[in-house]
């Protein structure tokens, strides 16, 4: 397949443009997505290409705009709502958790809510505690929502297209540090599939499951580990809900060790769910070491750059933990 270079932002923008071109029901609304071009520049010139009707600048009203997304979705549109920082979903949580997620169930299947919420998360930009969180665990425990965490440009585009085809509300948690990174992407984006994880690198000594920006760090760590004679398999679940558990379990059956890496805090985090699912599965009898989690510290994200780095797993942390897991067991 012939490939090209594109940033994560450009890929998301291209996917939104593809969707708006193909389906007149698709439109985008959010804070500063139009004239400003998006707080992170994701939308850029979309307003020029599709007009202010379909690239809608809203007031600073997260609850209102998600709620309007629900109302538009339930009446036949395919809205994309951007929440400028995923931290601000706290302002919108009633509409996400009580309305969007539950409506289909509560009304006995009479209605569907094909709403896509895009929200950037993650630390590393010096934006401190209210603009840097990784909140995926909030969303994965709400029945009715689907949760996507793309770790590269192709997934960001193709899983967004999949989310737009899905009749259920999908929250796509993008990562701010990835927006400006370039990736190799296919000539044309296809519609991805929700609930399908991917083995990013094959290995035999341990399985590293990582999400979001930690996928890249895990791949860098795997490279260093290889130089030290440790063969790490790296899995990106890509969709947290539905979760491709069979992929993870079969990998752990093969390697006998699991290191679970997330940027979000450890306590009550999503990797706890994966950990429990592994030990409840047939992989249990194959484990040669305890399942280990490497997560963000249980602290708000701090401002000082060294503190900020210390609060979430870095490449060196993954190398250290993986080495210990393989060498000490």
């Amino acid at each position: 397949m012939s490939m090209r270079e594109m940033t994560y932002s450009e890929a998301i923008r291209e996917a939104m443009a593809l969707a708006m071109t193909a389906d007149e029901r698709v439109f985008l609304m959010g804070e500063d997505v139009g004239l400003y071009g998006g707080a992170f520049g994701v939308e850029n010139d979309l307003i020029d290409r599709f007009g202010a009707e379909r690239v809608r600048d809203t007031t600073i009203s997260e609850l209102g705009i998600v709620g309007m997304g629900v109302g538009a979705a339930v009446t036949g549109m395919r809205p994309i709502v951007e929440i400028q920082f995923s931290d601000f979903t706290a302002q919108a949580m009633d509409q996400i958790a009580n309305q969007a997620a539950k409506l289909h169930f509560m009304v006995g299947g009479q209605a569907t809510v094909p709403l896509v919420i895009r929200a950037p998360g993650g630390s590393g930009t010096g934006a401190a505690a209210q603009h840097s969180q990784s909140l995926e665990a909030w969303f994965t425990c709400i029945p009715g929502l689907k949760v996507v965490m793309p770790s590269n440009a192709t997934d960001a585009a193709e899983l967004l297209l999949a989310a737009l085809e899905d009749p259920n509300p999908v929250i796509v948690l993008e990562h701010k540090l990835l927006y400006k990174q370039s990736f190799e992407v296919p000539e044309t984006f296809a519609v991805g599939r929700l609930g399908v994880g991917r083995i990013e690198r094959e290995g035999s000594d341990l399985t590293i499951v990582a999400t979001g920006v930690e996928v890249q760090r895990a791949l860098e760590a795997a490279e260093q580990l290889a130089a030290d004679g440790i063969s790490a398999e790296v899995i990106d679940p890509r969709t947290l809900k539905p979760l491709d558990l069979p992929l993870i379990v079969s990998s752990v059956v093969k390697t006998g060790r699991a290191l679970l890496v997330q940027e979000s805090v450890r306590f009550g985090g999503f990797m706890g769910e994966i950990s429990a699912s592994i030990v409840e599965s047939e992989a249990f009898g194959h484990l040669q070491a305890p399942v280990r989690r490497l997560c963000g510290l249980d602290v708000p994200i701090p401002y000082n750059p060294d503190l900020e780095k210390a609060a979430v797993p870095q490449v060196g942390d993954i190398v250290r933990e993986a080495t210990a897991l393989v060498r000490e067991w």
Binding site: M68, F105, G108
Partner: protein, 338 residues
């Protein structure tokens, strides 16, 4: 449309019948609850029937409504099937929500009722979003948002009115001011008439007697016509009173017996019936027939509801997500989503 209520006997009797169906449906529900045949909780709108009735008679097919936790009246006035409603409240599989939603989530999407809502002001942005669909597609439809006085204190209400106003959306906000948000009196909570708040959003606001079905019908007709003509949203405060407690736990400690009795004297159904009789538009026999037809319909709904099957717990997990094309073709994914 609405002036027909005082000139056209058929239209008048239809409106009266709707109010009777709401009243008698809720009395039946209260009775079933009292006899232990219905569980959970419920919020009755007895005394407030003129507002959904007067409003919904101005709607056409395809117009949407959003409703509240006190939503039986909206559902009935929009044309829902009484049997499927009663079956839902009786938690049966043949109810509107297959026994999964109950009173607080009753919906009839086919008639444009996007659902009652257990969250105060939860439906307000949703109605604005339906209005956005109407505007974007140019379908000529209007969304009506029923909400209570309590919703006016919510951020969701403010955000939805802000956006609906900014974009001139075809939405009519109908505030059923029954004077108490649970126990909080609206008079204590808000220093102005609620309709005065509309000015803050640059949209028309009007206060009407919510116990006068004709006044409600006239005010909402103006607002709905305005929305349909593309002139944007309006806010209507319809002042009424709930005869029953907030829910089944209410001991009425925040209001007096005298106040309740006074408002029972302003019964919207009796007032409208009296007015029709006085004007000579209909006779007593016609009024009685409207009431008795409603009584028969409610009786049939109880029979239908009690005969329904109980829902199967085995179907629960499949009820959470709407099937997507991908799910349907990949059993591994279905497994993964469990």
């Amino acid at each position: 449309m609405s002036t027909a209520l005082l000139e056209d006997a058929a239209a008048a009797l239809e409106a009266l019948g709707t109010m009777w169906r709401i009243r008698l449906f809720e009395e039946a529900v209260e009775d079933l609850y009292g006899r232990g045949m219905m569980h959970g909780t419920m919020h009755l709108s007895i005394g407030e029937e003129a507002i959904p009735t007067g409003t919904c008679l101005n709607l056409v097919e395809g117009d949407q409504i959003t409703s509240t936790h006190r939503g039986h009246g909206h559902c009935i006035a929009r044309g829902a099937d009484l049997g499927r409603m009663m079956a839902e409240l009786l938690a049966k599989d043949n109810g509107y929500c297959r026994g999964r939603g109950g009173s607080m989530h009753i919906a009839d999407v086919a008639t444009g009722n996007l659902g009652a809502n257990g969250i105060v002001a939860g439906g307000v942005p949703i109605a604005a979003g339906a209005g956005l669909t109407n505007q974007l597609t140019g379908n000529g439809k209007v969304a009506v948002c029923f909400h209570g006085d309590g919703a006016v204190g919510e951020g969701a209400w403010h955000e939805a009115l802000t956006l609906a106003s900014m974009w001139d959306l075809p939405v009519v906000f109908v505030c059923e001011n029954n004077q108490y948000g649970m126990s909080m009196s609206a008079k204590s909570a808000f220093k102005v008439d609620l309709s005065a708040k509309a000015a803050g959003y640059g949209i028309p606001g009007e206060t009407v007697d919510g116990n006068d079905v004709v006044a409600v019908a006239e005010a909402t007709a103006r607002a709905i016509d305005r929305a349909r003509a593309g002139e944007g949203p309006s806010f209507i405060e319809a002042v009424t009173y709930r005869w029953r407690g907030h829910s089944k736990s209410d001991k009425n400690r925040y209001r007096s017996k005298e106040e309740i009795a006074e408002w029972k004297g302003r019964d919207p159904i009796a007032a409208f019936a009296h007015r029709l009789l006085e004007s000579g538009l209909v006779d007593q026999a016609q009024l009685d027939a409207a009431q008795s037809a409603a009584r028969d319909a409610i009786r049939e709904s109880v029979v239908f509801g009690t005969k329904g099957e109980d829902p199967d717990p085995a179907a629960l997990l499949d009820a959470v997500y709407a099937p997507s094309a991908v799910d349907a073709t990949d059993t591994r994914l279905q497994e993964a989503s469990r």
